[in-house]
Symmetry: C2
Subunit: 328 residues, 2 copies
């Protein structure tokens, strides 16, 4: 501040007034002080100088897809916990590509994050072992880590899908299709397992034609649904493996002549205002993010016990689409 | 790799086979090599070592709100352009707080990003002048910078709102309410300006009771709408200042006994499947992100001409809610 005062040719008190936005400074003087501040690279807030040295805590979050609304409340919850601990959050997206996940996670480590929260695209996280050994706390969320031991927070995907499919069976359905994400994604195979469990529990078979795992691109989901709804033994109900699949199925089913029941994994905005309103198995993504962030800060605070695995239950929200009876 | 080979007690060729995932290595040998890699912190990919030195290009994106779906395609487009230029994208959210925007932008600079794309929460970006002088390319998107000159990419908010309100007027409405975001947000005041222009062009007045700027929290939007729809001269149509306002108004209007017309700024997922389907003024957020990223890489490639201002047009998508006539 002394340098700024000298550069601007004003007293220290005047600099202080300008910096703190107080009255009693002419606009000409204010401009001189601001110019001096700019010229000297002075910053009011000490925290900025701390950041320059890299000693403010920061947390990196590696997401799977920036455009999937499931991750919005999860990110926001991580950010809120980080903020409460005086830390900044920086994000990046793997776009479901293991190599990008690795590149991004290591880039964040190279940028001196204190901890990482990862929604993994990879099934092998041994690349993180040197970082973890060097003190970077690491927590996995939504999906488990691969080939390393670390804290993780997951929803109970298998049980959620089981409950959703059992709900359709309880409403009279016997021919139920499952459309989910790529089989290399842990949550996709867990939800498929839940589907098979519910069907087996009811003594129902699950022919291959009723199961389609793959990407969530609308054309792929549409094609799979149209195939399952055609032929001599069409399905009378569909279970969607995540919200991206569900929103496409809502469109496909709106075009069908006969009603088809639908239960989707994940709640989503406006699901209750569609016709019919969409029955879902809801996760609590904010709670997943919060738990993961709390585990992370627990490690940053020095906890060195065995890695923890936290599993959160899901919740069936019946709204209409899952209660449609089988059409004749 | 020599160190790994020596540590694991195997030949260089064996290390190479393990690292490249080739066949012909026993699982025991593979494990020894992997352990050596972990112990020595070796990385297969040269890019990781480049990152360690901080010389891989990276771009920081400061968003306004992680939970606003408007920003998802914008972020994804920035990421795609960054990727095409061999650069990583790291994001953070200001949560519409000027101090957080500043802290985050400076933290990203301290972490050696080559360029910044900012959706500003602040109206004074002079804090970035030392960074820009030090070579950090900076582009503003969605809203203009404050008190500095820089490249910017904006939608034509005023004209979009004008067109949306003129559409309602063309369908017979004379009493039209405007519910928008905080008045300190540039796009909120620009859209209000468009509303006033359309009303004035049609010789219509805009009493204070028909205008509500403030946050997009559902309770606030609901309260404003309920007030405008009550009383002796209720509005017969509403214009929503952004997608967060629109989704709340969809809920409020679904509860009304008489039909109320609605046009919303921003398109949103499933808008066409609601009843009535929602008429919107659509921006192209992916195009905004792409343009901003292209301007950024142009600067990083050495362009030093005057800052550019790119304005993108909006598009009216008539779906039903904006074509409801005034109720008697």
């Amino acid at each position: 501040m002394k340098d700024v005062a000298a550069y601007a040719g004003v007293g220290l008190k005047t600099v202080s007034r300008v910096v703190n936005g107080e009255a009693g400074v002419s606009s000409d003087t204010e401009r001189r002080v601001q110019d001096a501040i700019t010229a000297l690279g002075f910053r009011r807030n000490d925290s900025a100088r701390v950041l320059r040295k890299g000693s403010t805590a920061s947390v990196g979050l590696v997401l799977e897809d920036l455009a999937d609304p499931f991750y919005s409340p999860l990110s926001r919850a991580v950010e809120e916990v980080a903020r409460a601990h005086g830390a900044l959050l920086i994000n990046g997206s793997s776009a479901e590509n293991p190599e990008r996940e690795r590149e991004l996670a290591l880039a964040l480590c190279a940028r001196r994050v204190d901890g990482l929260i990862i929604v993994p695209a990879s099934d092998d996280h041994r690349y993180l072992e040197p970082e973890i050994a060097a003190g970077v706390a690491t927590v996995f969320v939504d999906r488990p880590p691969g080939r390393i031991a670390a804290d993780m927070v997951l929803s109970d995907s298998a049980d959620g899908a089981r409950a959703g499919v059992a709900h359709l069976i309880a409403h009279g359905h016997r021919r139920i299709g499952f459309i989910g994400d790529h089989p290399r994604i842990h949550t996709a195979t867990e939800r498929l397992r839940g589907y098979r469990t519910a069907m087996a529990d009811a003594g129902l078979s699950t022919p291959d034609a009723w199961v389609a795992l793959g990407g969530t691109a609308p054309e792929r989901v549409r094609g799979a649904a149209v195939r399952m709804l055609a032929g001599p033994e069409p399905v009378t109900a569909l279970f969607a493996g995540n919200n991206r699949v569900t929103v496409t199925l809502v469109r496909v089913l709106a075009e069908q002549e006969r009603p088809v029941a639908l239960v989707g994994f994940d709640d989503f905005e406006l699901a209750d205002l569609l016709s019919p309103p969409v029955t879902v198995i809801a996760q609590n993504p904010a709670e997943l993010g919060r738990s993961a962030a709390e585990l992370l800060f627990r490690r940053l605070d020095g906890a060195s016990d065995e890695p923890r695995r936290v599993t959160r239950p899901t919740r069936l929200i019946a709204r209409g689409s899952g209660e449609i009876p089988p059409s004749a």
